[in-house]
């Protein structure tokens, strides 16, 4: 289905390396905002020396791609059920954006969030187990693919109501402001969400109160089967956002380096107290909206055209041209990603089901158990 090459059989892959959890304490506003690069969460491989950023970006795009390709297979095999929205083709967006954030930042995402969760440090095992509906999943099997959560890593879902996460992001940023935390809250959403009242109410509140929210729009040109021009009177999304007097940024969402640079600039401005910012990442999904979508509303030629610009092969080709990547190194990264996926699937397969006796758990907070997340 995808253009990226398969690794040669039998390539020995190093063990996948867990990303660093985002448990770093945020710095209070009073302290000088010294941010260390090593705080960044989305680090694929570490020891002995951290590979250059470009290789980490490439490796993480591969991890998302290989994980999701397997998800599609597992869906066909009946292991993953419900709605499954793949991100294939859009990997440069999550990869560039998540790398541009600090470990202490908050992220609120949508149902198309597998990649974002992974790069925020939610283990692939926990993600895969969640998709299988197992108790070892990152939401204990209660959420599924659309509701991946990891509150210790400040990943607040996994929201399947279009636009529903945006007010939450405003509130998280408000809480940070009231508590003197200098932290960015990034909310990721599709261009379809910009027609929702929730978008307008949220960006207005964030701008009115000058809250540190990074509005990150992944414009893949379609909301299910509805093309942008069929849902928006103003198709220039930055112009729309700019009417709320927020700084706007636009990047080629098929170019991971451009996404990283742009989101880094936007996040820096937000972090330094410049109020909210809006980033539009122009991208495209190669697969259907969800596993139920027969994809009848767009031209096959259009899809093929965008695939020419596939974020993984275009970036790796560029790195090879620049002499910063060899074919062997690429194959090694790819094999590493595939090994991580295989291990995650094995983990999810063998993980136990939650006993039905526990059905009523986690509706309310048990007495004396209210720590983390809230209080």
């Amino acid at each position: 289905m995808t253009r990226e090459r398969k690794p040669a059989a039998g390539v020995q892959a190093p063990l996948p390396c867990k990303s660093k959890p985002a448990d770093a304490k945020p710095s209070p506003v009073a302290a000088p905002a010294k941010r260390m690069r090593k705080d960044r969460v989305a680090v694929a491989a570490v020891a002995p020396a951290t590979p250059p950023l470009e290789l980490r970006l490439l490796a993480d795009m591969l991890r998302i791609r290989r994980m999701e390709e397997k998800c599609a297979e597992l869906y066909g095999a009946g292991k993953i059920r419900g709605f499954l929205h793949l991100y294939i083709g859009e990997e440069a967006c999550a990869t560039g954006a998540m790398h541009a954030l600090a470990a202490e930042d908050n992220v609120v995402a949508t149902y198309r969030e597998h990649g974002h969760a992974l790069l925020r440090g939610v283990g692939m095992n926990a993600i895969m187990a969640e998709m299988f509906g197992k108790a070892a999943g990152c939401s204990r099997g209660r959420g599924g693919s659309m509701h991946l959560f990891d509150v210790p890593r400040r990943f607040y879902g996994g929201n399947a109501i279009v636009g529903g996460g945006l007010p939450l992001a405003v509130g998280l940023a408000l809480a940070d402001r009231l508590q003197g935390m200098r932290r960015v809250t990034a909310c990721v959403f599709g261009e379809g969400a910009m027609a929702e009242g929730a978008f307008h109410e949220s960006i207005n509140l964030a701008a009115l109160w000058q809250l540190p929210v990074l509005f990150c729009c992944e414009n893949n040109l379609y909301a299910m089967g509805t093309a942008l021009a069929r849902s928006e009177s103003q198709t220039d999304l930055c112009a729309k956002a700019a009417s709320y007097r927020v700084a706007t940024f636009r990047a080629d969402g098929m170019d991971v380096r451009a996404v990283f640079d742009t989101v880094s600039r936007a996040a820096k401005q937000v972090r330094e107290g410049g109020g909210p910012a809006f980033v539009e990442l122009q991208t495209y999904r190669f697969r259907a909206h969800s596993m139920f979508d027969p994809d009848l509303y767009r031209d096959k030629a259009e899809i093929e055209q965008w695939k020419q610009r596939g974020p993984i092969h275009s970036f790796s080709a560029q790195l090879k041209t620049d002499g910063r990547l060899t074919e062997e190194a690429f194959l090694a990264l790819d094999a590493e990603a595939e090994a991580e996926v295989a291990a995650a699937i094995a983990f999810a397969e063998q993980a136990p089901w939650e006993p039905v006796a526990d059905l009523l758990k986690d509706v309310h907070t048990p007495a004396g158990a209210a720590e983390g997340g809230a209080r």
């Binding site: 939401s139 529903g164 509130g171 509140l205 509706v363 309310h364 809230a374």
Partner: protein, 323 residues
């Protein structure tokens, strides 16, 4: 000390703001204007605009922001002017506040308190007269309170803030001017119904704005020689079935008063619980006094006719007793 329901609520807000730096109040016109029902009057001057936060007309946005702030470690009290406008925020209440703990597998709590005025009776016509407490009482994950006395207006906020999960407080608009002596023992829980008047021949269950009507009906009935018990539901979710059933076991007759429309009403739920818990204790089929199935009309006589009234409660009890 004699105080109004409104003042009792304000005392509770002030105490909460003084006691915990995480508490803040947010909503439309809560600050400069002083609250559309004047509940928060004076609090802006006392606590400043960061903690008494005026919002734009964005019910979905600021209720959702309250959910996010609760996730982020604060204890927000979000005032939605009235239940009528809370319909614009339903998504954030039903799809975020009440679900986040469960969907995340128990990773987070949402210690949010949502306050809203409710109810009819002031000739405000159909769009400003809703009583939709039962919609909220349908949702797992939230607690729903209906303070109907000055003491509960004073006492319910603190335990609501101490609850780690979302709590919705319905303040019946007709109650704000209610005055009563505030005794020292106003502290209360948010788990139990309360017997407001003991009796032996029938139990009248009511909540919120219907409690004074039920008590007035009880006075008339007692004067007519009928000894009724009046139970204030107080907590609409989860229902305190133990107190409800205990009352029915004493009186063997039940009338439920509810300003919501009869179909799918909270009264229907209360009666179902009674039937499940103590069917064989009943000497007569349970009865309901609900709003008529019509949008609440503007004209005074029609509005009165649409709502539960003491006379209707008296009639319902007498019918149960065949007198």
């Amino acid at each position: 000390m004699r105080v109004s329901y409104r003042e009792a609520m304000r005392l509770a807000l002030r105490e909460a703001l003084q006691n915990d730096a995480r508490v803040f109040l947010m909503g439309e016109d809560v600050g400069r204007y002083g609250g559309s029902y004047a509940v928060s009057k004076g609090l802006l001057e006392e606590f400043g605009p960061e903690r008494i936060r005026d919002t734009p007309l964005s019910e979905l946005g600021f209720v959702g922001a309250g959910v996010g702030a609760a996730l982020g470690g604060m204890l927000p009290i979000v005032e939605v002017m009235t239940v009528n406008f809370s319909l614009l925020a339903l998504d954030q209440i039903v799809n975020s506040a009440s679900l986040l703990r469960h969907m995340s597998g128990g990773q987070c709590s949402v210690p949010l308190v949502l306050r809203m005025a409710t109810g009819a009776g002031r000739q405000l016509a159909a769009q400003h007269s809703h009583s939709l407490e039962n919609w909220y009482a349908h949702i797992p994950g939230i607690r729903v309170l209906a303070p109907a006395t000055v003491a509960d207006a004073r006492g319910m906020l603190a335990p609501a803030l101490a609850d780690p999960d979302p709590v919705v407080i319905f303040e019946h608009a007709q109650l704000y001017n209610l005055e009563d002596e505030l005794a020292d023992n106003w502290r209360c829980d948010i788990a139990h119904a309360a017997v407001r008047r003991s009796g032996t021949q029938a139990s009248v269950f009511a909540y919120g704005g219907c409690l004074p009507k039920a008590l007035q009906a009880a006075d008339e009935l007692v004067a007519a020689g009928i000894d009724v018990e009046v139970v204030d539901l107080r907590v609409l979710r989860p229902l305190d079935i133990d107190t409800i059933a205990a009352s029915v076991r004493r009186t063997h007759r039940a009338v439920v008063v509810d300003e919501g429309w009869r179909s799918g009403s909270l009264a229907a739920e209360v009666i179902a619980r009674i039937v499940e818990a103590c069917f064989y204790e009943l000497d007569a089929p349970p009865a309901r006094v609900c709003s008529e199935e019509v949008p609440i009309p503007y004209a005074k006589h029609l509005e009165e006719a649409a709502l539960p009234q003491p006379a209707k409660i008296v009639a319902a009890v007498k019918e149960l007793l065949n007198v």
